[in-house]
Every structure is written in structure tokens, then in C-alpha cells.
Symmetry: C2
Subunit: 515 residues, 2 copies
């Protein structure tokens, strides 16, 4: 018997087996929050959403966008939109209106759901229909299935997209990654297995839900009947107090999230307060190679287990996993942290290789079917039956180490910033002759964006002026936090910037390789 | 990207990530045993097997039979045969020569591998080629890949059979269940997830490897890089000493296996010896609904976690799983055991239903594609898009209880009696070692309830005493109207009671079918 894999399978089990379990603790910090719901209630709201979308005239294959920080309604949309054959387009709420407009237009999004705090920012975005998630405009969409209302049937097709997730991209425009139900299902179940998700887990949503659908962890935790605790804004003390109050056992996030947690813990320690979750919590980190010192502190100072995974939006994302082996039990903390700082081993079903240039290649059912309406880019990314990650790495003895982004992407606070995109903006400034944008180490964000600028002869500009110029044109997180003026920039004989040379002085003494 | 699921994926990961790990501790009790091998060595032997089969002229799609108790070579055959597109036919070694001949002929097996202890028993079986697994005849087949030899490429097809597993069948002839790579892969990964298989696991092969390919657990444990400890013969003390000596953490088997283990533990306790594995071991039971008293004793006396699963050969087998929920943590042992005596909750990706007769129906990707060359039987089993289990059950509140094989339900005076429920009560009596409850003809009630009982060594009990024991605990109509004492009860190779054999003498000359 062949049954089409569908992300709705995970919710089906939760509603069947755990109807009275606490499913959701929504973040109270916003209008229209859902509060605390059981799986029976979630199930009814998911059906209600599908039914209402049907009544509103949205068909199988239609794209429904959502631009929102973490929220209970995002969780419902994973199932209420995708589970019935519509395609969710989760959009980074930190993009600016022009960038969101591009994604809405490119994806052909018909309905856009907007978090109330961002209603003004995105008020100018043109789309067929917009709804603010304020509990009023969207009241019907997130209500339980009405008595007598029908739920649209969708037989399913596992090779159909459940979502289109736009990458921040290394080219000037983001690309829409089509994640199929099969991609998402196999990613979630292998991730759930490798991280031993059980019915006892309480997941704190410290990872943006738009980012690769929370890496698939929301599906896995739902399938096992665990509880979701939503956190809109990331700061260390809020994470610690959620862990304490809600009995959190599991959380995902970029290294910057755990750095913030460590800061929160330091503050607690200085006040003589306890750190919750010792020996219970496990954190799953990805998005940037974490400093081994951060890993050591998470395991030592917090007593939380650190698990690293590696992947990209194009890979759903699970390509590798690194979790303490039994052979490492006797290591001291620093040595163990160095082991865990590697990207890790291929997860079940994944094959890895390197090409002649050291680019990491991957095969597996988590890998996307192609970019939305970009056949040439898709063919290039999936050439010769392998996905080309764009990352430079070293794969040996079953372990992958990521050496550098081949294309110089800067990863700051878990967000990918294309240096080219920022350079393009700076180049538009009348005083700028040459520019190189690089990532430099930052204790909070892992990396932060720095611009190295050569001014035109006779022209002037201040750091602040160039930063303001960027802020008018780019999402805040993409803008340089510092600008340095130079007389010239290191280039190859053919005129290409040698970024590894430009980065080197900033990275001395740090873990990141700067080749 | 769509990659064809292949059971070889599990071994691929083990060889990549854990080449130097101990993979196999073969049972020393037979000629031709493989001893202790690492995953690198297993990988080389699997490739060697595929290469040798190729050189011997066996093609993709050819059937290769194996009739053997548990053995390291069985583990290698799971991958060396199936992984390269040939179809493994695992045969119950306790069948007689005529039955094996039927399976060989029906499946079109070209090559039959025979355990040395069974060489004489099956010497008369006619097949194109036979090899005894004695280390001599099969030397080349289980040798590491020879230098310079090539491994046959198979691109894979997840809907292709990896094995044909013949059911023990309650009808006159066994049926060949075609298990696809997709069936096996999704079964193994959801089983691995639900039972939290990790790289730290050491699996004791207490379950016959021919039985549904060890329920898929060998694939799951391999994928995580765990260790396989092979046990040819089941007795309580051997299980306990393997747990002790090899650091076993996980084992699968029918309830009879755990009853034998409890007997072994009683003996150890009486000798003042310790019981190994406390708080480390988890046992996965299926194949028959276990008495709740057995569950209670496993958890209490051994300190091992009891997990129940339910399924059939046709379902790879995982349909349901029952593992202690957090809500049950505060229950006393007896109450917890009653909870765990249910078949359990649908596993990830499975849907359950009941038809009007109370027959359990199931949907899921673990369910087989059909019987080998029995299109009518296949169509019947898979009618209307559901698999018809043949089991009578009750599915409510997300939990399945198996009441009986449909044909084992006793209908007395219009009431349905679950023989399992009555057996469960009789098992709680301190003198009872084994029990089978069957329906026998009755002029007044049509059928009436009879108990066949094996007493514990040295114990005594009268018919009246056991009847009274039941009446205190069960509705009157469910209580045995007669009890017979026996020295032993007919069982299948996997430890299941053969109720049709037990019933047969009573029904001679009557209408009821006793198959």
C-alpha cells in the first residue's frame, strides 16, 4: 500500500492519541494570541482554517503567505494550509516592504496573513487579499470548524510543495525553495528520531517558524504529542523563564540564541537565581558554525545537551547531525565541545560528497524539488544528481566540517546576509568607489556585517551616512554594523576581491576558518 | 530530489560513520559463525555477497531463500541480497521439508541458503542451487569483497520487494508477503523513532530474524550504528547472560520469550545472583497480546521497560505502539501493566479503523503491496483501500485493544468472549504457567468457554479453583465451563499458540471451521 506522505499525518496522530493534551502555549505578547490549546482544539482550528480557505475560494495549489514572528497561528497554518493541498509561503518578518512585495509577487501569493505588530510596515504591500492576525480580521480563519461545515478533501501528492520558503539568497533576489510533503515528512521523522523526540517533549519555539518551517521540529513534536511553547522575541531571560515555567525540554536555534541564553544565565547566577532545565534540556543548533566555547558553556554552565545539525533551506534542512557518541563520554568538556563543533554525520538517508573545489554535495529525500519558477537556477543547484550546497567543507571519517560559505554569505544571528546584496546597495551611493562586505566575529550574533569602502577621489562620506543609506534600502539585519575606509582592497590579478584576505585579520584567534 | 528508499541506506550510514564500531557479536554455537565484526567488516562482506551473487549469475529480482535460526549471515543477507535488488525469502527453519519445498517452489527461489544444523532436515528440498552456511560451502558468498571485484549497481526502486516473507498462515498454505523497500524503510525509521533507538543501543536478537525481518529493528539499529548480538536459541538464562556480558539495551520478542526470561530471573534470584540490565533494558513485545501480569513482572522484577507494538507480517509490522506516557508515571505497577497490555496507539503515518464486524482495518506505508502471485488474496486483503487485519479489536480514545483473532472469538449464547481476556485473568493465578482459552461445541450455547492449562512445576490447582478465580474477576458468561490440565500447548515457531490445533479434537464432526 502506498499512502501519499502528508505533513498532516503528524497532526492526525496527535489529535487521535492526545486530544486532551496541552498542545500550545501561545506567546501572550500580542493581540490575537491563541492562549493555551489542546490537540483537540488545534485539530478543530486546523480543520476550520481549511474549511474557511475553501469557502473564501482558495484552491489546491494556491499560495498563502504569512509574515509573522512566532505565533500559535503559524503552527496552525503549517497544517491548515499545507495539509489540504495549499502552499504556505512563510516570509521573514524582518524583510522590508519592498522585499516582501517581491516574494508575494514572485510566488503568486493570493492571500497574505500579517502579524498585527507589522501591519503598518507592510500596509503598502499589494496582494489580492490581506488579513491582519489580530483576532478580528482573521477571526473566522482561526476559529474551530463550524458545526455542519465541511473540510475540503485532498487526496495528497507527496511530491507536491507543502511550502515555498524564500532564501535570503546569495544573489540579489531571494529564491523560492519548493519543499514537498515528502521532503518535510522524511526530514521531520529523521530529525525526530536523531534528536529522540518523544511524547514527553516540550518544545520552546526559539527558532523563527518561517525559517525552513522551524527545521521540521514542529511537525516531529506534534507527531509525538509534545507541547509547543511559542516565544516571539528572543532574549536570554525569557528563554530561561519559559524553560522554568513550562517545563521545556527541547529548543532549536542559531548559536546567537544560545549565546543570549548564556548571558541570561550569567545574570541569573550573579543574582543567586537557579538555571532551569539541567539534565533535561537539549538544544539543537544550526545556521552557523558555533564557537566551541559556546558549546562548552551550554553543556557546562547550563547543563543542557548540545546537538548540532547542518543543512540549508533547500534541504528541509537536515543533512547532518552531531550528538555526543558513547565514545566521547569520557572526554573533558572542552574536548567534547570541539567534537560537537563539527557539522556532524550524514543523517539517515543522506549521502555526502565533496567536489574538486571542496564544495559540499548532498543527496537525500530532504532535498527540495527545485526553486519556484527558476528552472535554470534549479538545474544548476541540482546538477548531476547532487545538490550543490555552496558551502566549502571537509568530509572525512563520517564527519562533515563546514569551512566557509563558498559564496561569502554572512550568517548573523541565524540570518543569512548576502554580501553581494549589501555591496550592491553601497555601490549605489555616489561617493563609493569600491566596496567589500564581509562577516567579522561578534560575541552576540556569531558574525556581524562589516563594510570595507574605498571612496571616490575627492568624495566624502561618514560611517553613519553609509549605514543610513543601507537602512533605507535593506532589512535592518543586513546593514553593516561598522564601516571602515580603505585606500584599496585586495584583489586577484583578474580583479576579483580576495575576501579571505580581507577577513583574515578580524578572525585571528577565532575558530572560523577564513580561507 | 527524490531518492529511492533502499534498506541499504541504513548500512550506508553505519559504514560511513561507525566503521570501527563493533557491529556484530555472532552466536558462537554453530559451524561457520562470523564471530565479532565491525561495521567496516560487515560493509565489506555485504559488498562481497552482492558481488559473488552477481558472479554466480543471480540477477535483479531473483529470489534468494534463507532457512536459518538467527545468525550473523542473516544480518548480512538483509543488505547483501535486498540492497542490490535481489529479493530475500526468509524461511522459518522450524517448518518441515515439505513446507519449505512449497515456499521455495511458490516463490521461485533460485538459491537456498541453509543453516548447517538443518542441512539434513532440508537435504531433500529441490531448488536450483543450495549452499550450507557452514563456512565451507558458503565461504566465497560471505567473504569480504575481493580486491578488484566489482559491486553490481542497482539504482533502486522503493516500490520493489526487498523480501517475500511467508506468513505462518492459519490456512493450509502460507502466503508470500511482498515487503517493499519503502515499507521496510518507513517501518524501520518510525519504529526506531518510537522506541528511541540510538547509537548507544545493543540489540539482542531474541526475535527470529526470519520473522518480518526482525520487525525492522535490525535496519533501525544498523542505521544508528548500534551493535547486534545474535542469539540462536531462546532460554531465559542465555538471554540474561547475554544482557550481562554484552551490555544489551534492547530486545524484541513474543511474550513467551519474556515469560522464559522471567523464569530465568526467578532461578537467578533463588541462587542469589543479580539480574542485569535494570533501568537500561527495554523490551519490545508483539506477536500475541501479553498477559498484564507478565508486563508487571518484567517492569517490577527485572526493572526493564516494556513496550508493546502490534502488527502483522503484512504491515512490516508496525501499526501501533504502546509506551509509558508521562500521564502514567504515577500509576502503581499493576495499573501501569494493564495500560501497557493494550496494543497501543497508531504509529506515525498509520490510520486505524474498525469495520462493522469489529475487524481492525489499517492504512499506512508499512502495509505490503500484495501477496506474491496471489492476486485474489491480495485484492481481498486490501479491499476498499484498507488492509483487513483479520483481528477483532476495539479502537477508541486513540488506543487499540486486540480482542482476538476474528476466528478465535468465542460466541457463547450470543455473547462475544475474547479468549485473550480470559487468558489474561488465568495468568494472574499463581499456579498457572501457560493457558489457552478456546471455544468448544455446546448443545445449548452453540459454543462454550474451555481453558487448557499448564501448571507451574510443583504447583497445584483444581478446575473448580480456577473457575472460581475467574468468576471473581470476569462476567459469568466469560468464565470457563471446563478446565483441562496439559503438559504443554501447541505453539508456532514464533511462540504463538496454535489454537486451531488445540480446538480441532473438540470440533470433529461439527460445522465450525477450526483453521
Amino acid at each position: 500500500m502506498k499512502v501519499e506522505l502528508n505533513v498532516l499525518d503528524f497532526l492526525y496522530r496527535a489529535v487521535e492519541v492526545f486530544p486532551q493534551r496541552l498542545a500550545l502555549v501561545d506567546d501572550p505578547g500580542v493581540q490575537g494570541t491563541l492562549g493555551r490549546l489542546t490537540y483537540a482544539e488545534i485539530g478543530q482550528r486546523v480543520k476550520g482554517m481549511a474549511s474557511t480557505l475553501d469557502a473564501m475560494g482558495y484552491k489546491v495549489g494556491d499560495r498563502i503567505g504569512i509574515v509573522s514572528p512566532n505565533a500559535g497561528k503559524f503552527l496552525i497554518s503549517y497544517f491548515g494550509v499545507s495539509g489540504y493541498g495549499r502552499i504556505l509561503v512563510p516570509i521573514n518578518y524582518r524583510l522590508n516592504a519592498e522585499e516582501v512585495q517581491y516574494i508575494v509577487g514572485h510566488s503568486g501569493t493570493r492571500l497574505l496573513l500579517i502579524d498585527p505588530e507589522y501591519a503598518d510596515v507592510f500596509s503598502g504591500v499589494k496582494v489580492e487579499q490581506k488579513l491582519i492576525l489580530d483576532g478580528t480580521e482573521d477571526k473566522e480563519l482561526f476559529a474551530p470548524l463550524r458545526e455542519g461545515a465541511s473540510v475540503p478533501e485532498w487526496l495528497g501528492d507527496e511530491d507536491f510543495a507543502c511550502s515555498i520558503n524564500y532564501t535570503s539568497g546569495t544573489t540579489s533576489r531571494p529564491k523560492g525553495v519548493q519543499m514537498t510533503h515528502r521532503n518535510a515528512w522524511l526530514n521531520a521523522s529523521t530529525l525526530g528520531w536523531h534528536t529522540t523526540v518523544t511524547d514527553r517533549d516540550v518544545l520552546l519555539h526559539t527558532l523563527p517558524m518561517f525559517h525552513c518551517n522551524g527545521w521540521g521540529m514542529p511537525y516531529a513534536v506534534t507527531g509525538m504529542g509534545g507541547t509547543h511553547v511559542v516565544q516571539r522575541k528572543i532574549d536570554g531571560e525569557s528563554i530561561l523563564s519559559n524553560v522554568e515555567q513550562e517545563g521545556v525540554t527541547l529548543a532549536c536555534g542559531a548559536p546567537a540564541v544560545w549565546a543570549a541564553t548564556l548571558q541570561g544565565a550569567e545574570k541569573r547566577a550573579s543574582e543567586g537565581r537557579t538555571i532551569p532545565g539541567r539534565d533535561l534540556m537539549r538544544v539543537v543548533a544550526a545556521g552557523a558554525p558555533p564557537p566551541s566555547r559556546t558549546i562548552e558553556r551550554i553543556q557546562g554552565e547550563l547543563g543542557w545537551e548540545f546537538i548540532q545539525i547542518y543543512g540549508l533551506t533547500e534541504t528541509s534542512p537536515l543533512l547532518t547531525v552531531n550528538r555526543r557518541l558513547k565514545e566521547w563520554d569520557s572526554m573533558d568538556r572542552a574536548e567534547l565541545a570541539r567534537k560537537l563543533a563539527m557539522a556532524g554525520t550524514p543523517s539517515i538517508g543522506v549521502k555526502l560528497a565533496e567536489d574538486a573545489d571542496g564544495e559540499v554535495l548532498a543527496q537525500g529525500n530532504q532535498i527540495f524539488k527545485g526553486y519556484w519558477e527558476q528552472p535554470e537556477e534549479s538545474a544548476k543547484a541540482l546538477a548531476n544528481g547532487w545538490f550543490h550546497t555552496g558551502d566549502g567543507g571537509l568530509y572525512q571519517d563520517g564527519y562533515l566540517r563546514i569551512l566557509d560559505r563558498k559564496k561569502d554569505v554572512i550568517i548573523t544571528g541565524g540570518e543569512n546576509v548576502s554580501s553581494i546584496e549589501v555591496e550592491d546597495v553601497l555601490f549605489q551611493h555616489p561617493s563609493v568607489a569600491e566596496v567589500a562586505v564581509i562577516g567579522v566575529p561578534d560575541p552576540k550574533w556569531g558574525e556581524t556585517v562589516k563594510a570595507l569602502v574605498v571612496l571616490k577621489a575627492g568624495a566624502t562620506a561618514t560611517e553613519r551616512e553609509l549605514q543610513d543609506f543601507c537602512r533605507e534600502r535593506l532589512a535592518h539585519f543586513k546593514c553593516p554594523t561598522s564601516v571602515e575606509f580603505r585606500d584599496e582592497l585586495a584583489r586577484t590579478a583578474t580583479g576579483k576581491l580576495q575576501k579571505f584576505k580581507l577577513r583574515a585579520p578580524y578572525w585571528e584567534g577565532h575558530d572560523r576558518l577564513v580561507n
